[in-house]
């Protein structure tokens, strides 16, 4: 299983984690894979969480690291967060940090992809 699945829509890279549980066991490798993508020039990112069923603070921390890695060079938009994944964003107030949209199409539209 790949750590991430990446598709390009114009200038936007859509990143889908390859794991159902983005927890402390998976988060470091996920973060490293996405940061490598950013270092390769992908500054407009959609994180598509469609397949992610479980997210803990380590997974959330990885997403914050990704946001910091992009910094002022671009944007990160999250889509397809649901159930407990969405609840964690809200509980930790990370829904105020990340733009979270309902579908990949909406996320791409937000980034102009």
């Amino acid at each position: 299983m790949d750590l991430i699945d990446v598709t390009h829509e114009g200038a936007v890279a859509v990143v889908a984690p390859g794991m159902r549980r983005l927890d402390a066991a998976a988060a470091p490798a996920f973060k490293q894979a996405v940061v490598q993508l950013i270092e390769g020039g992908a500054y407009q990112l959609v994180l598509d969480l469609q397949a992610v069923e479980f997210l803990d603070s380590s997974g959330l921390g990885a997403m914050v690291s990704i946001l910091k890695a992009i910094g002022g060079r671009g944007s990160v938009v999250v889509c397809n967060a649901r159930g407990g994944v969405m609840s964690l964003f809200k509980l930790t107030r990370m829904d105020k940090v990340f733009a979270i949209l309902g579908s990949r199409q909406e996320a791409l539209a937000r980034l102009g992809g």
Partner: protein
């Protein structure tokens, strides 16, 4: 009704944390809401991850004993380990104010340190004791 009870002993590794939280998530009673079940699964993942990442730095993984008990009015977990204890001040300070960061200040957003506050958010009772080299966290979710 007699209390239902299960016990696991796992090695303090992150892979074992994933397996244990998956197993517990599948056992949580349906009388809990989906939100409560999600929060409990996250809370357990956070305490077990804490034991692995901070309790045994530079040491071989030790055993962690997880006991699950369902009573008439509450669900109870006990997590026992022999690693370094959680500092009392860190546990005391972890509450909902942990999430009071400035969301637009990207450079200062927390990349870690949310776990203890998530444990407290998930459970009604959080009692942690460390004595004679044994740590025990008691977590209870009271049915409403």
């Amino acid at each position: 009704m007699a209390a239902k009870r299960s016990r696991w002993v796992l090695r303090a590794t992150l892979g074992e944390v994933t397996r244990a939280t998956l197993a517990v998530g599948a056992m949580l009673p349906s009388r809990l809401t989906a939100y409560q079940r999600d929060a409990i699964e996250i809370g357990l993942a956070e305490i077990l991850t804490n034991v692995v990442k901070h309790g045994r730095v530079g040491e071989a993984p030790g055993p962690v004993r997880v006991t699950w008990r369902e009573r008439d009015d509450r669900l109870e977990f006990s997590i026992c380990d022999t690693g370094r204890p959680i500092p009392a001040d860190r546990l005391a300070e972890a509450d909902e104010t942990t999430f009071d960061y400035e969301p637009t200040d990207i450079g200062n957003l927390p990349e870690s340190g949310l776990g203890l506050a998530l444990i407290k958010a998930a459970f009604d009772v959080v009692d942690y004791r460390s004595r004679a080299g044994m740590n025990r966290m008691l977590l209870q979710k009271i049915y409403t």
